[in-house]
Symmetry: D4
Subunit: 250 residues, 8 copies
């Protein structure tokens, strides 16, 4: 926030033109920290009660570490996603204090408040979908949700899924992760009356087209109540699930 | 439900092998009415408190009317979607008692219970997106949600959207409808901390590829918390919004 | 078959250069009737015990009727596919003796031998998939297979499908027809240990891409034993099912 | 299978509510071994007489070996697919007892019962298609089929294919493997009256689009009786061929 | 050609700066008739000995007739392509003197010189490919080539094609027309040692993608010597065949 | 602009908290007229000196006319695009005062100020590209630019283009319109040192993919200085050309 | 330029057939230096006042250095693009005198004349878009434009962008760089009345399709005045911006 | 050729059932050498006067060398294509006697007969297209054609191309190689009245889609007489050019 802007706000508070509440609101919505190569919005995280999240891929090491440091200087919770094990190995010294999950490829700093609220259930079709499913889990948890995983319940062996039917019905929101033909969200969506967030993965080959087949299947799901995120976007699914799980009054 | 199956269940209840609660549950999950060309799941609607929904496109008139009649015989609430005005004109006599919305192309039978709970806000980018937005509205309402619409607030004139900023922040869940470049959900997603369901529409031409451009944009949204449904799928978005809006205890 | 070629063959038989059996074989493999715009292979049908099949779309009325007449002059069984009701209405006088199935859009001439052998089971996901499913049924039947249909058992209401589980397990070969997300063949493939032929349909809209979404899903099925035919190709699926059903000794 | 579920079953058997046969059936259909990251369905293999199959790509070494061990502890036959030579080299010590085929990239454990039944014929268009063709061969064989290969008979040199015409006609089911323009299944399908399973390969470049050109060609085959599997999916083709080859009575 | 430019040229001829031969050449390469909405290059046709060609689709009736009249005023030979029968019916009075081929949808004015040279052979896979094949025939003929057609010799019945093997070998250049899987050019290309121009057609449905499947197949042909034109572009194939057929000395 | 917001602004002006200049600016940026189904931004047009533009396709007649009326009530200049001749015929009475260009499918109300500044040159490849080229012309002119057209100078007859070389070099900005292979912008871009806006059209068939081939070609132009708009988007090209042509001081 | 051609020109000048001005013009338009593997057009750069530009990717080291040397021998300004840091490291000795920008991956030789004219503003959405944005900056600057950068102002945090609103309005031309959903050019285009050149980047994953999602979004922008260049084509955008920025009189 | 088949032929010759000429013909068309993994058709090469050609990519070293040896044992001329420099380095000892062209990535064995007939002209747009252009050159030459190259004459600098106009007109057949927007074949096709074979290359990035943009452009060429081969298929273009160049009498 520019000094001049802040000054103006304060003068308007003084003259009674602006209430203190509205001034705080204005500050929260318009301020950010400018690193030159990045503009960090600490207030957003603060006012929403969310941690910061940094997507590591495509950023240089220098930019990545600079952004992490600036965030951690402003507040204690941070999630770094898409940090491959080799790259984490090289940067680990600069990221101390963070917990690395090598399957999810995430680093988590700080703790969510309390024990985790609500009930997010992550379900994945095959073993190869685990990295995406774990990314969703880590994201939902650091945003303060209680979250659990059921793995390897693809539709070609329905009884493995049906064995968990009651657990599925109890969840407040479900994240369903699948590659190949992407059928699992439709089947789960037909079993429950809760929001289902479908995550296609790039697991597969050939006509899987890097996850596009699963993506299209999920977008065309015959089960209503299914919404979809980008291929391999475990983070986005976990984030949306946490928003839904938080409920209206929070 | 086949007679034999029901008999077995009852015998198990009598012998104490099955509790009455579990027997009801079993009945609800396994029964349907078989019309030959269609198998209707009245229990699902009943146990979830939802209306039935019938997608009119691709069904012959005979099948469409047969399915509607069977549903209405079993329970009073029904939503018919994708019924073009000309077709509705021809079938109106057979659909009396239903309210037709020619923009949404829906027919609604029966009333949702109470005044509508929660707060679903549907936002659309342009005038040509109205049919999809109204389909979402009709769906959310008949499922029991309170739902409102803000129209024609595309990103090329941001101040039209920002004029509604407080209203956006109040909603419990938002449905954001846009064609062409599909940017509106990203902008709205950055303004609120609530779940955003993005609906791409086929509005546009050329490289819009019938809505694929907007769909891809929404799937790649840089705003977290955005999930996506199929092109022109106002129904799916309204349905998912109503599920999210209903909350955990309901 | 050209006269000269036949003469040569007979001379070789006379000189003992060719056995009568091999000569018949040669005749069967190389002869056809030349209408100028079409070359009809009556022998193929005769030696395989199959009816002739004519794809009506894209052929002029004149060509279509000419081909049908030439086939029926040579042998009594014929299947015409993709003949829309309006076009059939206009041509019906020229196609008398044929049974028209308006859902399947097929005309069948002649009867298969016997009562139908084996057990082909056609399963379809929704009411709108019926035309494709019926085309598969008609094809399998005129090729001599016993064939039945189970309709409207899409994956979003699994109990409708599971209610038919024993019937599914009894079939010798299954044709599974679905549009939208195309998940049904994967689920069926996981329930049975028989060949499953998956038929994607163009039922759906938007990201269904005219059946491409269902096609891709089926090609990426996680259930082994599933093979796939072209979008809406009920004929091809019924034909392949009949070949499989016929078994090795026939 | 959860202990509680089993207990309930046994009690129902004791009370006569469930016959011993049905109880066995129930056990077979609902039990699996849960490794946490994977849920193994040993009963499926057992009741169908099939070996287990593990797809190696996309699984971590730890998960891959854990799954193999668990399968081999339960029964002796196992097929591992898509294990590249370098990876096999690194893991060979942990996979002893298995026969590695470096062209097919498969490891086979155990022997199929008997000498191989029926007659599966695998045909491939070019030398570069051999890995996929050999994967189909290995799969069909370990499932108990007799299977043979004819290589390098692409359509640009028809006489190489026609030299094998009688052999083609003898087979009970054919797997036809081709990249580039994918024309071979149409030509073979026109020569035989048996089921043809077409396998497109990623052999080619440019407008071959990684096998999509061959895939589309095969899906549009003008020869009826041709069904298709995913690009490079030799396993799926071999599996379906073995199912078809097994016939109804088995 | 602008008057001023011509004057300059003539002055340079007069001063000896330009030879008469070079001046003629310059005139031929730079002149055209300007209709405002179109610029007609009569010299190109004249110096190459080719007829003019007008593509009718996408032009208004007024533009189409204006262009035809201007061409016919300058020279007698003209080919109009893509003129659908209904449109021809409406415009026939304005196109008198032209021969309409309703299958090819072409109107031909004037006669090629002599009896037709060389030997262009057009081969098509199915009856529905005839419009494209006939467009190629008409084009090659009006450009002065001798051209013949063999119809309905698709690869699913190879003996129909092989019956014409000697005729195929005699041609100087072949145009091979096919829809669906587009395999015919590969097979023909393997039988002859002459240039093969492949024409994909939009015949087919579903995964045929409007002719894209056939196009891709032809571009990936394993038979060398095959080149390809646009989907349904019988004109382009006939034109290129005539150029090849004309040979170097002409 | 809401009354309350305006009141606040005025009070701030009165107290000296806001200068009159800033207040005007604020008004201009935040006001719009709300029709319910549309929100009209009259200030944007006014402050930029631009006419309003209404895209007719996809809007109902009622919405279209309502928007036109509201715009014309606020200011005199208006451009309606994509109004097909038949639809214009039906609505002409309600659009009196507007000049209809049936090739461009535009209606223009009011006159641009002055004689037209700068020099926009529209160049198109073929006669069938004229509707798009004329839409660009009409747009540039009503925005106040001087604009001219050169038609039918496609790259297959280069001398037709080169005859206009000096005219091309004189333009301040060029709009180059082409379908099929879309090569013209690359050739023009190599001849001039001015900005070139390329407009792909849907003219063509088959592998033209509705203009996608031309679009891709233009995006990959080897001539620097070429930028691209959507397929058939003559309006967008004319608008951007007018912006560029206006120059910095205007 | 061939000696003979030059001789002819001079003779025409001598005879008065050609003015000296036109002769210079002719020389400038037709001469190039032929390296065998490349033909360099030094005159173009000279007469337009532009530097030479060499695209490094896809050229062998030998060709790249040969072209650079030949250009620098003819004139002092040169821009080399797409030279990755590792490759630059290996070639640096051969490129001395050039300034390497490792983010932009460009080498610049020589200085633009004067201080930079006009006002090109480059705006990018995220940190990962910086390489493309810097390539645009370097290009605009060496072509003589004044150019600045605003980074990390993606649409999910609008207040970061709106904080720069006045700066945006001052620019003469804007280059807007964004990956993922590519929404930024639409938002910027709605805020300013200047030409906006949109550059999609390949930043993103999955359904981003390597930048195609952003490209399609930008082509469908609802803000008029937006034109688009190829994915990651910072050079092309900077070049076009410099052309626009130069204005008509230059 | 199988011994039995040959015996039969000879007996038929002896009995007069087959003329010696026809028997030779039969032998030539049906014989091949079977290596197990490959079936080599030496007769085709022999009777057509062509060298053998082996595509190296996708073949194991063992298969590649085995095929080369078998060919060279049967006849002296052989062309190996797509052999990358590194791989050639490793195999060079096994390929002695062959001339390696590292740009074209070809190895040539033996000499074409005579000095090269006719006149094939290869033209390429940019320096990066040289590998494909050289592959075409090498192929045309070893097949006996005289062939030359003009490089770096892309359409953005037309005068470089026009400087070669007379040379272009002299060629009997032209191969035109271009990446990016693929416009060169259209321009060349408009300048000459000879067959033009267009070769798209994968040179470019982003929306070039690996050569698909250039491929589509060439398929949609507005210049008649242009036919197209696969992306980067210099071999196919050179082969077709040699066939066309050979003429009818050869």
């Amino acid at each position: 926030m520019e000094r001049q802007h802040l000054l103006t706000l304060l003068q308007r508070v003084k003259t009674g033109d602006l209430s203190p509440d509205d001034a705080i609101r204005e500050v929260e919505h318009t301020s950010f920290e400018d690193l030159g190569f990045a503009k960090l919005d600490h207030q957003r995280a603060r006012r929403m009660g969310f941690p910061e999240v940094v997507f590591a891929e495509g950023k240089s090491d220098e930019h990545l570490l600079g952004i992490c440091r600036a965030h951690l200087a402003a507040q204690p919770r941070l999630l770094v996603t898409r940090l491959a094990p080799e790259r984490h190995g090289a940067l680990a010294d600069h990221l101390d204090g963070g917990r690395y999950n090598p399957t999810a490829r995430t680093v988590s700093f700080g703790e969510p408040p309390g024990e985790g609220r609500g009930d997010v259930l992550v379900v994945c079709a095959g073993t190869a979908d685990l990295p995406v499913a774990e990314e969703a889990l880590e994201t939902a948890r650091i945003m303060g949700s209680r979250a659990e995983l059921i793995a390897d319940v693809g539709v070609a062996g329905l009884h493995r899924l049906l064995a968990h039917r009651r657990r599925l019905e109890q969840a407040r929101v479900l994240v369903v992760v699948a590659g190949m033909e992407g059928a699992l969200p439709s089947v789960v969506g037909g079993l429950v009356d809760k929001p289902v967030i479908a995550v296609p993965t790039s697991v597969g080959y050939g006509a899987g087209l890097g996850g596009v087949a699963a993506l299209l299947a999920m977008l065309n799901s015959c089960a209503p109540g299914v919404t979809v995120v980008n291929i391999d976007n475990g983070f986005g699914a976990g984030y949306a699930a946490a928003l839904i799980n938080r409920g209206p009054q929070e």
